[in-house]
């Protein structure tokens, strides 16, 4: 019998945003790896690729030409997961097992810049601020459409995250329903707000700043941290210090501070394994259903798969799919490692 040591002993941690547990196995980081290695491309990309369907002026799958765009560029996804058609539907409530509902939505692609070779950490602050402005505009425009109640802004970065074109870009899926993960988060935020008259994340950020050990970057308006309940080895979350519930409510200063922390965090990520660090990232913020949502608090999740090197990722498979998410390195250790990374991009040192 020994006393619980969170840095050494297997344990579960609770995620109050979605009300789920995660299994943490600190001692397991040492196990050898004989499994699959990811292939990474070390090929230098050209500034412009004539065969890329996202580069300015080029032809897309549907035959349309991209304009000769000079900053960010948004277009409707040619293979959208949802459609804008209005569908007539009568719910058959007798169906306990075969419950289905049509879903209306719009998918857009956001090219970050004309440059085929410039990822987020390699862009200058002005370029990143342009992307933030684009996200604000899209959130407003899409959110204003009557049937759109949720706007999901996200990025899949790297082929290991299913990204099919290296030209830096993100996506936006806007739709009538609240997606599953967002609904769970909203339920947690709402019940906390109702009880405390403060947002859950406002109090959480304060608790984390006090604890210190999971903070990666802090500036006047934002904190980048490894959540206490993080699932992915180097998962992080950027949270606003102020309880601002959507990106369109940022002050000018907040926009600049957000651009800065985005650049710093993604630079640290790239420096970790000297590679263009793959991840899926995305913003969780107020639904666009016309209600107030004082319980919402802007945050951006980063879910990166790499575990030990540029080629060895964490697999969320058998036990994780059937049981629950499991991690091998503690969030505190990951935060420490990320804190140690330089904020100067490794590529700029090589040149």
């Amino acid at each position: 019998m020994k006393n619980f040591d969170i840095n050494e002993d297997p344990h579960r941690r609770f995620n109050p945003l979605i009300n789920e547990w995660v299994l943490v196995s600190p001692h397991r980081a040492k196990r050898p790896w004989q499994g699959q290695n990811e292939t990474i491309s070390t090929e230098e990309l050209p500034k412009y690729d004539p065969t890329c369907y996202l580069c300015p002026g080029n032809v897309r799958a549907n035959g349309m030409h991209n304009p000769p765009y000079e900053s960010s560029f948004v277009f409707e996804n040619d293979f959208a997961a949802m459609k804008q058609d209005e569908i007539i539907f009568e719910e058959d409530i007798k169906h306990t097992f075969f419950k289905a509902k049509p879903e209306q939505g719009i998918s857009r692609v956001v090219c970050f810049s004309p440059r085929h070779d410039l990822t987020l950490p390699e862009m200058d602050l002005e370029g990143i601020e342009t992307i933030i402005k684009t996200w604000q505009k899209e959130y407003t425009d899409l959110g204003n459409i009557k049937y759109i109640n949720h706007v999901q802004i996200f990025e899949n970065k790297g082929s290991v995250m299913g990204c099919s074109n290296p030209h830096p870009h993100g996506q936006i899926w806007a739709q009538s329903s609240l997606p599953t993960q967002v609904e769970k988060t909203q339920n947690s935020l709402k019940s906390y707000y109702d009880r405390n008259k403060k947002t859950l994340l406002e109090d959480y950020v304060q608790a984390e700043l006090k604890a210190g050990e999971r903070i990666v970057i802090e500036n006047d308006h934002f904190v980048a941290l490894v959540p206490f309940w993080a699932i992915w080895p180097y998962e992080t979350m950027i949270v606003s210090k102020r309880a601002v519930n959507k990106i369109t409510n940022f002050t000018a200063e907040e926009s600049t501070a957000f651009a800065k922390i985005l650049k710093q965090l993604t630079t640290k990520y790239d420096n970790l394994f000297n590679t263009s660090f793959p991840y899926s990232s995305g913003i969780h913020q107020s639904p666009t259903d016309g209600l107030d949502h004082p319980e919402w608090h802007f945050h951006m999740h980063f879910y990166p798969p790499l575990l030990r090197s540029a080629t060895v990722k964490k697999f969320m498979v058998g036990y994780e799919m059937l049981g629950e998410s499991q991690r091998d390195i503690t969030p505190e250790k990951s935060a420490e490692i990320l804190r140690q990374q330089s904020e100067v991009h490794y590529k700029s040192l090589v040149k």
Copy 2:
């Protein structure tokens, strides 16, 4: 405005086992793929590999020798995610945000047979029945340990599913808590049982047999089907027809019928893309907490990632992680394609 056509229009379906929705985009199956291709090994494996740490007689990472085993073989995982140590722990209830609890558990590896080259579909029925007996024995032995309340039997098949050794094997993680996914399932099963005095899956299987279109294989005691709410392109579930709540309650006839449907289903999987079909599979059944659990109903999930070919998988990334799971081909279409596959393994034809 048009009438809802579930075979054509984007929609959401509801999963009553875990109370979550999934987004279905039938029209999207046609989009071209320019992203990552998985590497597949077409190398013929030897019957015995002197460098494999799972083959009979060989040395494992911890220096121990495997016995010269002749059927299935079970050992404790050398890099277990949980430990058996009893840990002293006083819960600090003041922690809203930093909630953690030690977790006790045991991880075991189940080598399916001495043969390094023989996957489940290639084994004979007798060999598969031996695995089922092993699962029964492990479920009993582990379940009888006082602090073990849940026994998760699963397999990660193929390197794309994080499997680090091609020698056919599964795993068992047994632990004190109910893992997240199991707890969700139990809540749904329990509330259905309390209302209907029948298990949810008993009624679901009947409804599916009546509908017919999602059935892949049926025998006297089991059904293999693509759930109405399946997430993965060729996801399936094997369900017992009888409301049997754990594998140790199978009759002899049921064990044989289960071995048969396992072989048939995994053979169809391999034949689909003429490849050793990767998946994570696992059994959900009654917890081992000593209670009765009449609400539980034996079922085995198969979560295979491949979408279009042996090398193109479905990526559950950005939208799926931040929003909700999304699929491009309807469960009805997948079931039809699986039904069409032969029950004779493609490799046995080549020889």
